[in-house]
Amino acid sequence: MNALFSQEVPLIFYLLLSAALFALGIVGFLIKRNLITVFMSIELMLNGVNLSFVTFAHQWHAVKGQIFVFFVMMVAAAEAAVGLAIIIAVFRARATLAVDRIDLMKL
């Protein structure tokens, strides 16, 4: 009881939030059709992971976790740039962004 009202938010809440974000990302990835939404779901998952990194970094007073977050953000930025470029290229070629329709590689 005390822990809930103390200054410090307990670790479990951060982790639950992180897991919730990640799960939302997965669900979004699996059920959405629009490629951009799918893409955003990936960002959501990455941020869920980032949150747990930051949490543990704070908990254990280890700077490593924060450095990982920077790496993840950097990769995510690069990925966003490439991914959006691909999405634009796909849209130009196929005039659709529905993932079910983008199936040229299928046998």
């Binding site: 997965i26 993932v99 590689m105 299928k106």
Partner: protein, 650 residues
């Protein structure tokens, strides 16, 4: 003298020739190919001469046999084998014959093979043969000898099947190779037994160990000697493994001269002479050698009587003469056997090359019945061949007389078995003289039986070697068996000296006289049959149809082996190995593996839906499963289940 004779040069010079002509020969101009091909054996011959001078110049310093070791080959526990070459009088004689006659035959081949497409290939094989043959002869232990032994078999196979587009030649090559393998099994088992009983394969060490302990006799030594004899019989075409040599005549004629008359087939005789200590310790094995030799000599000579292919007559004659050498070894007259080996190399190489010249001049004709009257057309070939025929018939003072006489004399002095073998040898000499003069009359004398053919004398590159070999066939025996024997004495043991032996000098003279008389009788019969009364042979054949058929069909030995060995093996291979093992077990196994993979693939194919979200779902499920796997405390869970299961079992 720095103590090294550089023996490695002798085998490696021909090997260099093989590499150059084998790898680059097709791109090099023909003149260069010939130059390389001729330089290799010539250089080897000079190296042998150099070694000979080094050997005799430094005789007091060198302890014969002189050994050079080039590092360790095997060193496993008690087994220690070196790359060692050994030079003594025995290997020196062999080397001189191999490289000397080999060089002459290379020269001859330049003319004989001039128009062949495989010119460079031919000479690379020939040089390869010289490499292996010199290795065989120089080998200081049985394993190095075996390398040369197998190598000459390979070269022989390649050269018999040189014209491999001819079915007969390809089949003959295979036959030679396979029959030789049967003999090699004997050689191998002999080596294993040597290792097991003496712990070494080095010839000198075996001799020392045998000499130290006189208890070695009979028993295991006999078995080893008989195994080695089997190997020697395979290589030297003795009964019962002689069948490959007549077929080997499918190869080019110079090859028949070099490999299948003068050098390779004598390897068996050399091997027995090299291992003579073993044979000396086993009188039984020695008797077997003598009987095999005598039987082969007579057997092959009878077949040669009625053959009509000029090369086949010579092939059976070679088998017969090899039998003589075995006979010599078998009566412990190793130096006489090696002496005959040497003179035989001269006159048989000569006979084959002269036959090759005849075949060349007639445009490939090998049938004696279509020859005749070539004396005027091919005078050089005629006169050189005459020298060879007289030499092999054993008429004084040609080379064959001295060596044959030495063997017959030693046989006569070798107890009652020896006396019987002496008679067999004498009978063989009669037959030999007859069939050789028959060949001579049918080829060169009388009228041509194929008037439409216009034979021409061969080029000088072919006649030159003939003349040199003819001179050697005449003079080669004059070194005399006494001096030859004393030269070889340290390597092959002492020879019987007629002056002190039973019967004295007069017995030697009487035996020689009988031998020459028998040879002349053979000539006389041939003269009557093929010169005076040409219808006589056909009448005789008609009078004795059974005997004639037996000889013409070579005693049906090939057919017998075919029915008893080849056919059952083929049936076994076709039905058991081919159908049961190959098709059913191996093929079925492969089919099962392939079928399983195809079936599994067909099942798993459904996963490859092409739907990216299903992939993602599987990915997520997989990640979840991994996490579960990582976080569930399996050891505890399994232990619980285990306890539970054992309780349930009770």
């Amino acid at each position: 003298m720095n103590g090294s004779l550089h023996l490695w040069l002798i085998p490696l010079l021909p090997f260099a020739g093989f590499l150059i002509n084998g790898l680059l020969g097709r791109r090099l101009p023909k003149a260069l190919v010939s130059t390389v091909a001729l330089l290799a054996p010539l250089a080897a011959f000079l190296a042998v001469l150099g070694s000979a001078f080094g050997m005799f110049g430094a005789m007091p310093m060198l302890n014969l046999p002189y050994t050079e070791t080039f590092g360790t080959w095997l060193n496993i526990g008690a087994l220690h084998v070196d790359f060692s070459l050994v030079l003594d009088q025995l290997s020196l004689i062999m080397l001189l014959v191999i490289t000397g006659v080999g060089f002459l035959i290379h020269v001859y081949s330049v003319g004989y093979m001039a128009h062949d497409k495989g010119y460079a290939r031919y000479f690379s094989y020939l040089n390869l043969f010289l490499f292996f043959m010199t290795t065989l002869v120089l080998a200081g232990n049985a394993l190095v000898m075996f390398v040369g032994w197998e190598g000459v078999g390979l070269a022989s196979y390649l050269l018999i099947g040189f014209w491999f587009s001819k079915t007969n030649a390809a089949a003959a090559g295979k036959k030679a190779f396979i029959v030789n393998r049967i003999g090699d099994v004997g050689f191998l088992i002999g080596m294993f037994l040597l290792l097991a009983n003496f712990g070494t394969l080095t010839f000198t060490e075996i001799a020392t160990k045998l000499g130290q302990d006189p208890g070695w006799s009979g028993g295991v030594v006999t078995v080893i000697a008989l195994c080695l004899l089997l190997g020697a019989a395979g290589k030297s075409a003795q009964l019962p493994l002689y069948i490959w040599l007549p077929d080997a005549m499918e190869g080019p004629t110079p090859v028949s001269a070099l490999i299948h008359a003068a050098t390779m087939v004598t390897a068996g005789v050399y091997m027995i002479a090299r291992n003579q200590v073993l044979f000396d310790h086993s009188p039984f094995a020695l008797s077997v050698v003598a009987i095999v030799g005598g039987a082969t000599a007579l057997f092959a000579a009878t077949i040669a009587l009625v053959q009509n292919d000029i090369k086949r007559v010579l092939a059976y004659s070679t088998i017969s003469q090899l039998g003589y050498m075995f006979l010599g070894c078998g009566v412990a007259a190793y130096s006489a056997a090696v002496f005959h080996l040497m003179t035989h190399a001269f006159f048989k190489a000569l006979l084959f090359l002269a036959a090759g010249s005849v075949i060349h001049g007639l445009g490939g004709e090998q049938d004696l019945r279509k020859m005749g009257g070539l004396r005027k057309r091919m005078p050089v070939t005629f006169w050189t061949m005459t020298a060879g025929v007289i030499a092999i018939a054993g008429i004084w003072p040609f080379a064959g007389f001295f060596s044959k006489d030495a063997i017959l004399y030693s046989a006569f002095q070798h107890g009652s078995l020896g006396k019987a073998l002496w008679f067999v040898g004498l009978l063989t000499a009669l037959l030999t003289a007859f069939y050789m003069f028959r060949l001579w009359y049918m080829t060169f004398l009388g009228e041509s039986r194929s008037p439409q053919v216009h034979p021409h004398e061969s080029p000088w590159s072919m006649l030159g070697p003939l003349v040199i070999l003819a001179v050697l066939s005449i003079c080669g025996g004059w070194v005399g068996i006494d001096r030859f024997g004393s030269l070889l004495a340290s390597a092959t043991g002492p020879t019987i000296d007629p002056a002190t032996a039973a019967g004295g000098k007069s017995l030697d003279l009487i035996l020689s006289g009988i031998a020459v008389a028998v040879a002349l009788l053979g000539w006389l019969i041939a003269h009557i049959f093929y010169k005076q009364k040409p219808q006589q042979p056909a009448q005789l054949a008609a009078a004795l149809p059974g005997g004639y058929k037996l000889l013409v069909n070579k005693y049906w030995v090939d057919e017998f082996y075919g029915a008893v060995v080849v056919k059952p093996l083929m049936l076994f291979s076709t039905y058991f190995l081919g159908w049961v093992v190959d098709k059913a077990i191996l093929g079925g196994g492969a089919w099962l593996l392939g079928g399983t993979a195809t079936f599994a693939g067909a099942l798993l194919q459904r996963w490859q839906s092409g739907n990216i979200r299903s992939y993602a779902a599987w990915l997520a499920a997989g990640a979840a499963a991994l996490l579960l796997f990582a976080f569930i405390p399996w050891t505890t869970v399994l232990a619980d289940i285990g306890i539970h299961l054992t309780q349930a079992g009770h």
